[in-house]
């Protein structure tokens, strides 16, 4: 259109217009790409960054008896042109003052870590098995992995109470078979929490593992065999390193939600199962102290996010080094 309006014969003007049009087109294509990238960024902005800023803001307030139950961040008295910012650091100081919080954080990390390792040990053979079955059966097996999601998570956790309790299914079966004569104490302790977490999060481990194992080139294993590697050695030198992205993705998907888990420890755990989710509940509901609850959350995010960012950086570096 720009070219059509230019006077014919004016060669330099025409050339200039052409370059301008090309530049415009180039800019547009860049804009198109930005548009595609902007979508996930907008998503992260709205659903992660904004809530994070709100929680961070509340963590710098103090509790008061009103709705909402914390002091305002900006004070804007009449006749004042600029608002005054009101910040209290005392909530963070409070977290440092009482070892309870650190013990709860560490305990949550420990429970999440052990659960992740257990999920990996249980999930890997399952994912491997599914990836090695014929395609027709594979769909059915994958469906079975996903099937539990059709029932409410809460009900599935609740069902474990019936299975593990003193007069529950396992104890009743073992007693009637004469294997034990005293019921085993399997509920309301760390054991039942691990059972609940591993059971609930196992599909999140299996699915990414399956995705990488399925793509694995079988001829590599044949090559290893030809070169004299026994199956176990081939597994550890070929299969495991190649499935590392799946292991990492699955571990993240299990570890991160397990740290903040509240429902499983409160239904299956004992009174002394101390996790950060319970501390948060206490701060929010028992103490009605939203600012301290927010501070606990912010610290939790930092404790989780910083190591993950470092890990990812290193991974990217390692990948670049390879290339």
């Amino acid at each position: 259109m720009t070219e059509a309006t230019a006077k014919p014969g004016d060669a330099t003007a025409l050339a200039r217009l052409r370059t301008a049009a090309r530049a415009l087109a180039r800019r547009l294509s860049v804009d198109g790409r930005t548009g595609v990238i902007a979508l996930p960024y907008a998503w992260l902005f709205v659903f992660f960054f904004v809530p994070f800023v709100i929680v961070a803001k509340i963590s710098l307030a103090q509790m008061v008896l009103q709705r909402p139950p914390y002091t305002a961040f900006l004070l804007w008295p009449d006749g004042q042109t600029w608002p005054t910012i009101q910040v209290f650091w005392s909530n963070y100081a409070w977290l440092l003052q009482d070892p309870l919080y650190w013990i709860a954080y560490l305990n949550s990390l420990k429970i999440a870590l052990v659960s992740t390792v257990l999920c990996l040990l249980v999930g890997y053979p399952i994912a491997y098995g599914i990836a090695r079955t014929p395609a027709t059966v594979r769909t059915l097996l994958l469906l079975m992995v996903i099937l539990p999601f059709w029932t409410s998570f809460l009900l599935r956790v609740y069902a474990w109470i019936g299975i593990l309790k003193q007069k529950g299914l396992i104890n009743a079966a073992l007693m009637s078979l004469g294997i034990i004569d005293q019921p085993l104490d399997m509920l309301h302790n760390d054991f039942s929490v691990y059972v609940g977490i591993v059971y609930s999060y196992l599909p999140f481990m299996i699915l990414p593992l399956y995705a990488t194992l399925e793509k694995l080139d079988v001829s590599l294993l044949e090559a290893a065999e030809d070169l004299g590697a026994r199956p176990i050695r081939a597994f550890f030198t070929v299969t495991v390193p190649l499935s590392l992205p799946g292991i990492l993705a699955g571990s993240m998907l299990v570890f991160i939600p397990a740290v903040g888990e509240f429902v499983i420890p409160s239904l299956l755990g004992g009174p002394d199962t101390l996790m950060i989710g319970k501390i948060l509940w206490n701060e929010f509901f028992s103490n009605r102290d939203w600012p301290v609850a927010s501070a606990v959350t912010i610290v939790l995010i930092l404790v989780l996010v910083i190591p993950i960012v470092i890990l990812q950086r290193q991974q990217v570096k390692a990948q670049e080094a390879l290339e």
Binding site: M63, L65, Q66, R67, P68, P69, D98, P99, L100, I103, S152, L154, L155, Y158, K165, Q166, K167, H188, F262, V263, S266, G270, P271, D272, L274, I279, W281, N282, F284, F285, S286, N287, R288, D289, W290
Partner: protein, 369 residues
């Protein structure tokens, strides 16, 4: 009543949010969103109300004052009627969570018990914000046979010694002891047992309570605010600190099951906490007119009596008593005789600072940290 998470609570959340796509408040309110305690109303009450007024009721339940308060503090719950307990009610009024009642629409208020209305003034001066619904006590639910087996005929089943004397409770350790998972419920009782004023906020007193609870702690199987109902009924535990009506639910479930489990409830002779559950209208309720109709309906003597006959908690409605079943009215553990009634004390709200110390102390009792 105060407690921790329970399935019903969590499931209920989604329902109301969906049901309350903000409709403008008008005299022609056709829906009403009620948020009440679990197992706390006769099953016919809601259909009767719906039929008479042509108002559809969305009914959700919870088992924890803390959960109710958390939601109200966040605002926009969409609920028109909520049922907080006396101790929580006062500070919720101060926080501006409720609207004043329009008493011209509540002519059935005349049926309410004068004594209870008088005591309510302490939380709600002038009775401006709430209608007492039911009241109850914290007491001991126990398995008659299991306790007798371990402690013999002279077991102190009518005393707090059964639960709070370390020597006695240690003998019950093997059959299962449960406490409510709420320091608001437990601490005033232990203070009272130790001869400390239940209203004291002195940190030194708190330490004494904590030290005493730690002596009992090794014998406590779990802390939970609704699990004990089924466990008492099944014989999975033998003693529980519980709410009167809930223990009676356990009793009737046990006799229905016919497994020979006999559950009893006792108000200890030393006296206990008396609480009131209060129906109130949140400040931002979308259907205040329907809410007033609901309140007035539930204050009808026959409706109030019907609810009590179903849930076995005493009603705050004096005119309802003549319709209440004799086995409830004459039960000294539900309608306590004057000599016990004199020893009841009310739960009072605490300062935020004290509450924080108490929550911390409770965590310490439970986890040892």
């Amino acid at each position: 009543m105060t407690a921790t998470l329970r399935i019903s609570t969590a499931l209920a959340v989604a329902g109301v949010l969906a049901a309350t796509a903000a409709t403008p408040a008008s005299a022609q309110d056709k829906t009403l969103n009620v948020y009440n305690w679990s197992d706390y109303i006769h099953e016919d009450t809601i259909p009767m109300f719906e039929e008479e007024f042509g108002i559809e009721v969305n009914y959700d339940v919870y088992d924890s004052n803390a959960v109710l308060e958390g939601k109200l503090m966040a605002g926009n719950t969409g609920y028109d009627i909520v049922v907080p307990t006396s101790g929580f009610f006062q500070r919720q009024i101060q926080a501006g969570l409720y609207q004043k009642l329009d008493k011209s629409k509540l002519d059935n208020m005349k049926h309410l018990d004068d004594g209870i209305m008088q005591r309510m003034q302490r939380f709600d001066p002038g009775n401006q914000y709430g209608i007492p619904y039911m009241w109850g006590t914290n007491g001991i639910g126990y398995n008659v046979n299991m306790v007798a087996e371990r402690l013999g005929e002279d077991a102190p089943t009518n005393s707090w010694d059964l639960l709070f004397d370390p020597d006695v409770v240690s003998k019950l350790s093997d059959c299962g002891v449960a406490l409510l998972d709420s320091p608001t419920e437990v601490y005033p009782l232990v203070k009272h047992y130790l001869g400390i004023d239940p209203e004291s906020e002195d940190p030194a007193d708190l330490k004494k309570v904590e030290a005493h609870l730690k002596k009992i702690r090794p014998h406590v199987k779990y802390f939970h605010s609704s699990q004990y109902i089924n466990d008492l009924a099944n014989g999975d535990i033998c003693v529980a600190l519980g709410w009167s009506g809930d223990v009676y639910i356990a009793q009737s479930r046990a006799s229905e099951a016919g497994q020979g489990v006999e559950v009893a409830y006792t108000i200890p002779k030393e006296g206990t906490v008396q609480w009131f559950d209060i129906m109130a209208i949140p400040a931002d309720a979308p259907h205040p007119d329907a809410a007033h109709k609901w309140l007035n309906f539930n204050m009808r003597p026959k409706i109030a009596a019907q609810n009590t006959n179903y849930v076995w908690y005493p009603t705050a409605n004096a005119a309802a008593e003549k319709y209440i079943d004799d086995e409830i009215l004459n039960n000294p553990s539900i309608y306590p005789p004057p000599e016990i009634k004199d020893k009841l004390f009310v739960d009072v709200p605490n300062s935020a600072q004290y509450r924080r110390l108490r929550t911390r102390s409770w965590t310490s009792v439970k986890t040892g940290l």
